[in-house]
């Protein structure tokens, strides 16, 4: 073999090895969680509250809590994100201010989640006096998700051909009419997909909800957004590190992890399906 052939051979196999390592890690994680968690999954586990000092029973309140807090996150992060994206992509002139805003948004997505958590305590819990509750936690996660929804929405808007805007304006539409009737409808699939991916990430976060509303254990379900809540990622954290009978509750921890992963997986899967459907709808 020539030396260039050998290099080619080695290079290709090095890349294959990287691939294999990544897949292996992923496989080990899934295998570990599924093999140890699947046995725990049952209707009772999903629909009952924890009992006996969280050593028995299910995780129903944590599922409800994560659902509620994610709804708040969505209600906050999607409209604001879409609004910012419309402003940045359709209205803002290219100036140092808009460049600075864009850079700020990029940097915000790199801020560690615990920092958002502390910020949420200061802003929502203390200053705005919401207290530790679903609302504070949801808004904190919303702040964290905002850079994602802005970026996703802006990308979606960018992908709409300029001919749609010009074509609409040339027919006597005002700028807002053109955007509302001939740009936004086609950008929605991309916006939603990106936003759901951001929400899925938020749903799995512990640090931002740790001080803003998540509770160790609650005897009853929350009845308003001003109540504290249990959440899947926090429950998992407690069950795997904070519980006094760690070994005994291990299966519960694995069950919780499986449910959390499944939730995130389904949200991502849902985003893909949604995008596929909306694209198809647009075509016919």
């Amino acid at each position: 073999m020539k030396s260039s052939d050998i290099k080619q051979f080695l290079g290709l196999n090095a890349l294959r090895l990287c691939m294999a390592v990544v897949l292996l890690i992923l496989f080990v994680i899934f295998y570990d969680i599924i093999s140890k968690g699947a046995g725990k999954i049952s209707w009772a586990f999903l629909s009952q509250p924890p009992r006996n000092g969280m050593t028995e029973g299910g995780i129903f309140p944590a599922i409800v809590g994560t659902f509620c807090v994610t709804v708040i996150t969505a209600v906050f992060a999607i409209p604001f994100g879409v609004g910012c994206a419309i402003y940045l992509n359709e209205y803002a002139k290219d100036s140092w201010i808009t460049r600075a805003i864009r850079m700020a948004i990029r940097n915000l997505s790199g801020v560690p989640s615990i920092v958002y958590g502390l910020f949420g305590v200061v802003l929502f819990v203390n200053m705005m006096q919401f207290g530790t509750c679903i609302l504070s936690a949801g808004l904190t996660l919303g702040l964290m998700t905002l850079p994602w929804t802005i970026t996703a929405s802006e990308e979606a808007l960018k992908s709409i051909p300029n001919a749609y805007r010009e074509g609409s304006l040339a027919l006597g539409a005002t700028k807002w009419q053109a955007i509302r009737t001939n740009v936004l409808p086609y950008a929605v699939p991309g916006m939603l997909t990106g936003s759901i991916l951001g929400l899925a990430r938020a749903a799995g976060e512990t640090a931002p909800i740790l001080f803003t509303g998540a509770a160790f254990s609650l005897p009853i379900l929350p009845s308003s957004v001003k109540d504290q809540f249990m959440a899947l990622p926090y429950h998992l954290y407690i069950m795997s590190t904070q519980h006094q009978a760690i070994v005994k509750v291990r299966p519960i921890a694995y069950g919780t992890a499986l449910v959390l992963i499944a939730l995130v997986f389904f949200m991502n899967f849902g985003a893909v399906v949604l995008r596929y459907h909306l694209r198809k709808q647009k075509k016919d």
Binding site: A163, G167, G172, T181
Partner: protein, 253 residues
């Protein structure tokens, strides 16, 4: 020479992209109910000129204009002008057919709806516009199919229909046939000649034969200057300037 009333009066008009001057001291008049072609080598400012007439260049931040363009007696280069009502009066068909990804019906109804036409009139107007654009017979059985399913030539006639639906007085066309095959081009040319009974047509074309076939008047632009403007017949048979002749006979461009 020029019959009919003046529809567009261009006077000492200059146009700049930032510091680059793109149109230089243009003056000429365009008569109503005629087809006027604008010809010239690429980059000479034809599209820019056309887009001044419906203020489409407003979208470009660095764009700036001087001098005046009057449409129907009204100066459209004034900063405070209502561009929305100008664009209803001056329709535009783009170089590349740009049907919206909606049904054929909704494409034609688009301008009507944003202008607040009541629903019960929309159906009639859509039909009328499609008939005007000689597309009705081809699409009447499939009005609710996607406009993207039409052929390129049909798409461009749909764009014409869409522009006609809001009853403009002037229709601007920027190389409307450049993406079409010869048969579709012939149909579009026929349509343009028909349309001049009701509308004033200004068309940019890089195709000399097309300009000769369909237009009453021709303006020859070069490097931002209006070199020559006159009856199409005269421009193509007895151009006054040497350079016009050289361009028309294909010696450059």
């Amino acid at each position: 020479m020029e019959q009919g009333r003046k529809m567009v009066e261009v006077m000492n008009f200059n146009f700049f992209y930032g510091h680059a001057q793109c149109l230089k001291n243009i003056s000429f008049d365009i008569a109503a109910h005629q087809v006027t072609s604008i010809i010239g080598p690429s980059g000479c400012g034809k599209s820019t000129f056309l887009r001044c007439l419906n203020r489409m260049n407003d979208l470009i931040p660095s764009a700036r204009m001087e001098g005046s363009i009057k449409i129907d007696g009204q100066d459209i280069s004034a900063p405070g002008l209502d561009v929305v009502s100008l664009r209803k009066k001056v329709g535009m068909v783009f170089q590349k057919p740009n049907p919206f990804p909606k049904s054929i019906f909704d494409n034609v109804a688009y301008g009507l709806r944003i202008n607040g036409t009541v629903d019960k009139h929309i159906g009639d107007k859509v039909e009328e516009s499609l008939k005007n654009a000689v597309l009705w017979d081809e699409v009447k059985s499939r009005l609710h199919e996607s406009a993207l399913s039409l052929s390129g030539g049909q798409q461009q006639r749909l764009c014409v229909a869409r522009a006609l639906a809001i009853a403009p007085e002037i229709v601007l066309m920027d190389e409307p046939a450049s993406a079409l095959d010869p048969v579709a081009t012939a149909k579009l040319e026929e349509l343009i000649i028909r349309l001049k009974q009701k509308y004033t047509i200004i068309i940019v074309t890089h195709n000399m034969q097309q300009a000769a076939r369909i237009s009453d008047m021709t303006a020859f632009f070069m490097q931002g200057d209006l070199v020559e403007f006159g009856l199409t017949n005269q421009i193509f048979t007895r151009p006054k300037k040497q350079i016009t002749e050289e361009y028309i006979t294909g010696r450059f461009g």
